[in-house]
Symmetry: C2
Subunit: 417 residues, 2 copies
């Protein structure tokens, strides 16, 4: 595996322009013809202004409700995930209605006037807050990714070549969340010195509840959100309030938050014993593996797309629960050599970062793959190394590199490598 | 007017906590009672997962279609603006379907497979591009505000006390836009040295067309967008492609972009002669006043809201076409004294920046107002100074400070000051 080439991150500008120029756009034969093309055809007035701008009828974009591992086509009643269409998105922000959804008992429609948040346990002053109470407090807004800890597990087990990136990686999304810093709430109730853990419980029928260690990082960064991409949370994403835990497992970002209890040890709920523990190669289970690791995936071209020889643009997203993405490298020869991709700015900590690189495809079958490195120096592993370390029993925190194969007809397929 | 106090930007942390603690939340009398409250009532499974997460039925949020100056209640056929509900939004991002809309002939529904972009004029190689052509090119993603140059004009003329901030300032919004750098397109067609201006024309029935000077700043920053908050543009916002001109008049951000022509002088279209020229106090008209100035407005509490004495949180947005917001000050005594507000990070150039400050209201009638300063040192003027400089003939680029009055009952109203 050769080193990446930071000095020459992409094709030279001149070469790229020449390539793009040869394959993109249609030349207009003469200025006179251009002037003719400039003439506008007859046009009718368009739609009236309205309260909301809806999507174009020409745009088909939606999530895929799916069941657990290996079951993609399911009865809607059995769906537990609804995956984000990463292959159709650009930039870093996920539209609110396309943010991935993971549910244990469906999305309740809570009345914000009746909903309350109870904070109690090892505190000086147990308090109950309404949604309006939260909105009156100091707030923080932050663009962060949330990722289901099960994201990508199908490729851990076996490859289905006919998967899209929505199937393989659609359980990660990035929104701007707004809410009250956990630190402010902690100061209001006055937690005891002995409080080292916090139980966060949701108001859904499943009553998802997780024990969260009160590290400095979590006290500094966690918040109780009521806003999502500028507007109130949507029911599927926790309306009227949810916990946001930047960098940590999706299931800790408790939706429909109704209770936070402080204590000196974890509560060992069924969500951290029967579920969301990691079965290791030696048969023991690891608890509280909470942080999401450095990850990346090429979203275009990706599974089930087709490309043509010549100039192509490779783009994707990278993210890490440790902080900022420092570097993304892309290989177009099956991980033999790597080139450094360009990152979209600003690169925000614990948020999706868009990367891109240009590529002159010679038309021969090959494989493309990305790998990310975060600011703490964590490098996204290849699949072989990842399995050598984690074994094959585990289900969560899959962050191995995603390889797409390309055949001589330009067809992109999911591949294990 | 006293200087602001950067050393002590808000109430002291302890005092703020005490104030907030006294007015926010309900004390739970005993740990035993808290445990009772922790018990969950019977709950039913929620809604199934789906392709899209819709809004809660409890959330009423939408734009207001309005006509021109002074006419807020109109026949829908006469509406030319649809204003963003700033008083209901948080953070910096505007949801795509709530981004303000300004239209001259409604929103056409263009077929992306048929739409083309012609680039011609003083170029080496006139070219025609499809939407797919653009998507194959290097891209940039950027969070920027777009603002109608007429935003705020009602208060320039006379104050209606019963306006909300949606009425007074709802023609500014911030999205993450994704598209192709103008510089890349310019290099592909090879513009002549003599090209100093660019005509950008829309594919709507009105055929809005503006002449844009090719300054270094514009060549570096403008782009042709096809993405908005991660997804394809919505028809009301230019689907399938629009020009994005960070920092400049909204009407330059040509929607439904169908043509860019390069030349050595402006075209003097009716959009820069009959419309969008600024009538000065001396009766002469200023053309090509393109940059949006530093601005800010308190969005909560704001027009038609009510507050109670004691702890209150003041929040709003600030933006400048010159670059980043450097500072926002808030006065709670009718512009006699000012305190520096806290800014949400990251502060991005030419994007909405959220500000907030806490306040202990003594229950006496007063006025609240914000003023922004950008990184170039431009300070948002008070209304008197603004009118002294610009006169009363003009209609555009109103960026005077917005004052809200508060009466003894806590009612907030629009005020001129």
């Amino acid at each position: 595996m050769s080193e990446s080439e930071p000095e020459s991150p992409t094709l030279s500008r001149r070469r790229m322009l020449n390539l793009a120029s040869a394959s993109i756009g249609t030349l207009v034969a003469s200025p006179a013809l251009a002037d003719t093309l400039a003439d506008v055809p007859p046009r009718e007035p368009g739609a009236d202004l309205s309260a909301h701008s809806e999507r174009s009828k020409f745009v088909q974009i939606g999530r895929i409700p799916e069941a657990g591992p290996g079951k993609r086509k399911v009865d809607p009643d059995e769906a537990i995930n609804s995956k984000t269409p990463l292959q159709k998105l650009v930039g870093s922000i996920t539209p609110s209605d396309l943010h991935y959804e993971r549910s244990h008992s469906g999305a309740p429609e809570l009345d914000p006037d009746k909903h309350r948040l109870l904070i109690h346990g090892l505190v000086q002053k147990p308090l109950v807050f309404s949604v309006d109470d939260l909105k009156a407090m100091p707030s923080v807004s932050r663009v962060v990714f949330i990722e289901c800890t099960g994201n990508g597990w199908e490729n851990w087990k076996k490859a289905d070549p006919n998967l899209t990136v929505q199937n393989t990686h659609g359980l990660v999304s990035t929104n701007e969340w707004t809410g009250v810093p956990l630190k402010f709430l902690v100061d209001l109730v006055g937690i005891d010195r002995g409080s080292r853990w916090m139980l966060a419980e949701g108001g859904d029928a499943a009553g998802v509840a997780r024990s969260i260690p009160l590290t400095d990082e979590i006290l500094d960064e966690a918040f109780v959100a009521y806003g999502q991409n500028g507007e109130p949370l949507r029911p599927a994403h926790g309306f009227p309030m949810r916990l946001v835990m930047p960098g940590f497992e999706g299931n800790l970002n408790i939706k429909w938050l109704r209770r936070m209890k402080f204590g000196d040890q974890p509560w060992m709920t069924r969500w951290e014993t029967a579920r969301y523990t990691q079965l290791l190669a030696n048969g023991k289970a690891r608890q509280f593996q909470l942080r999401m690791e450095t990850n990346s995936v090429i979203t275009s071209p990706s599974g089930m797309m087709e490309i043509r020889p010549g100039y192509n643009r490779i783009t994707g997203i990278a993210w890490s629960g440790h902080g900022k993405i420092a570097r993304v490298e892309v290989s177009t020869d099956g991980a033999r050599s790597w080139k450094q991709a360009q990152l979209s700015h600003p690169v925000l900590p614990k948020a999706q970062t868009r990367f891109q690189i240009d590529w002159d495809w010679d038309g021969k079958p090959t494989k493309i793959v990305s790998r990310s490195t975060d600011e703490k120096g964590n490098v996204q592993p290849d699949r072989g190394s990842f399995i050598a370390e984690m074994g094959r029993n585990a289900l969560f925190h899959y962050n191995a590199q995603q390889t797409w194969s390309i055949d001589e007809a330009g067809r992109i397929r999911n591949a294990l490598a």
